[in-house]
């Protein structure tokens, strides 16, 4: 069942909003985003990457740490703090990629909105600085959150 495509918009220079409809109640979606065993089954990135480290302290003030590894043994890590933990409605966390040496932090607010048994997951990503944004860009796999400019697809289609 197709539950709706990914949307990526940029309400401001430092902000990106990613939304995706998932065909399950918000409690279940929330669990998939906060339980290491479940996270390791889907948050894997491109083919060939695994997630050997996945720690998530499910509480306000808790820490999390993710490490992805590709077939060549190259690691990419990210850590952060859970700022707000409100089951099953909202998580706010900060995150920094290991590759980002600028000291910049990114804050991500994940909202879980349920309607008719489906959940819209809306993630608002706010970069603390241009340096932080560039650090995220340089890190490759998840880099380039700013890539999804609204209507860019349409524009590029027109230009093609």
């Amino acid at each position: 069942m197709n539950t709706g495509k990914l949307t990526v918009t940029t309400p401001s220079d430092r902000e990106i909003v990613v939304t995706r409809v998932l065909n399950a109640p918000k409690k279940m979606v929330f669990q998939c985003l906060t339980t290491p065993k479940l996270l390791q089954r889907w948050m894997l990135g491109p083919p060939g990457w695994t997630m050997p480290v996945c720690e998530f302290e499910a509480k306000a003030g808790g820490m999390f740490r993710y490490v992805w590894r590709n077939a060549d043994g190259v690691d990419m890590g990210m850590s952060g703090t859970i700022v707000e933990f409100s089951p099953y409605d909202r998580i706010v966390h900060t995150e920094t990629f290991d590759a980002d040496t600028s000291g910049g932090r990114t804050e991500v607010t994940s909202d879980f909105i349920e309607a008719n048994g489906q959940t819209t997951l809306a993630m608002t990503i706010v970069y603390g600085s241009k340096e932080a944004r560039d650090g995220a860009m340089a890190s490759g796999m998840t880099g380039g959150m700013e890539m999804g400019y609204e209507r860019l697809d349409a524009l590029l289609g027109e230009l093609a």
Binding site: T3, K5, L6, V8, T10, D13, V18, R20, L22, N23, A24, M28, V29, Q31, C32, L38, R41, W42, M43, L44, G45, P46, P47, D134, M137, A138, M141, T142, G143, G144, M145, E146, M147, G148, Y149, R151, L152, L155, L156, E158, L159
Partner: protein, 123 residues
């Protein structure tokens, strides 16, 4: 550096007027006056946007001193699209695995409920 080029490209594309200018230029080159016509903007304001696009390597200006026609350049856009596609694909791959996982969890839940509530029994 590649990321610097991409940064310039996407900063330039972050503005709706500049995107509209590029969409217009996709139809062919145009003078600043022609570009300004559909917008409620002065020519100097349009020139400012063109400078950003030019700096990002998305447009070039002709040498004709009178008209200096503006032309769209495709290469940085192609680079940016490729990168954005990779990013979207990565996100969508994650979400489609999450779709599968959620279906599996729902099936497990349904099986548990069925065991707890045998057929014919009401809750």
């Amino acid at each position: 550096m590649l990321s610097t080029q991409l940064d310039a490209t996407f900063s330039a594309l972050a503005d709706p007027t500049r995107r509209a200018i590029l969409a217009r230029l996709a139809l062919g080159e145009a003078s600043v006056m022609e570009l300004a016509a559909p917008f409620a903007m002065s020519q100097p304001a349009i020139s400012k946007h063109l400078k950003v696009l030019e700096k990002a390597g998305l447009v070039s200006r002709g040498r004709d001193a009178q008209r200096r026609p503006v032309k769209a350049l495709a290469e940085p856009l192609a680079e940016a699209t490729k990168w954005m596609e990779t990013y979207r694909e990565t996100l969508e791959m994650n979400f489609s695995r999450l779709d599968d996982l959620l279906e599996e969890l729902k099936a497990e839940d349904a099986a548990k409920t069925a065991r707890k509530t045998p057929k014919g029994e009401t809750q």
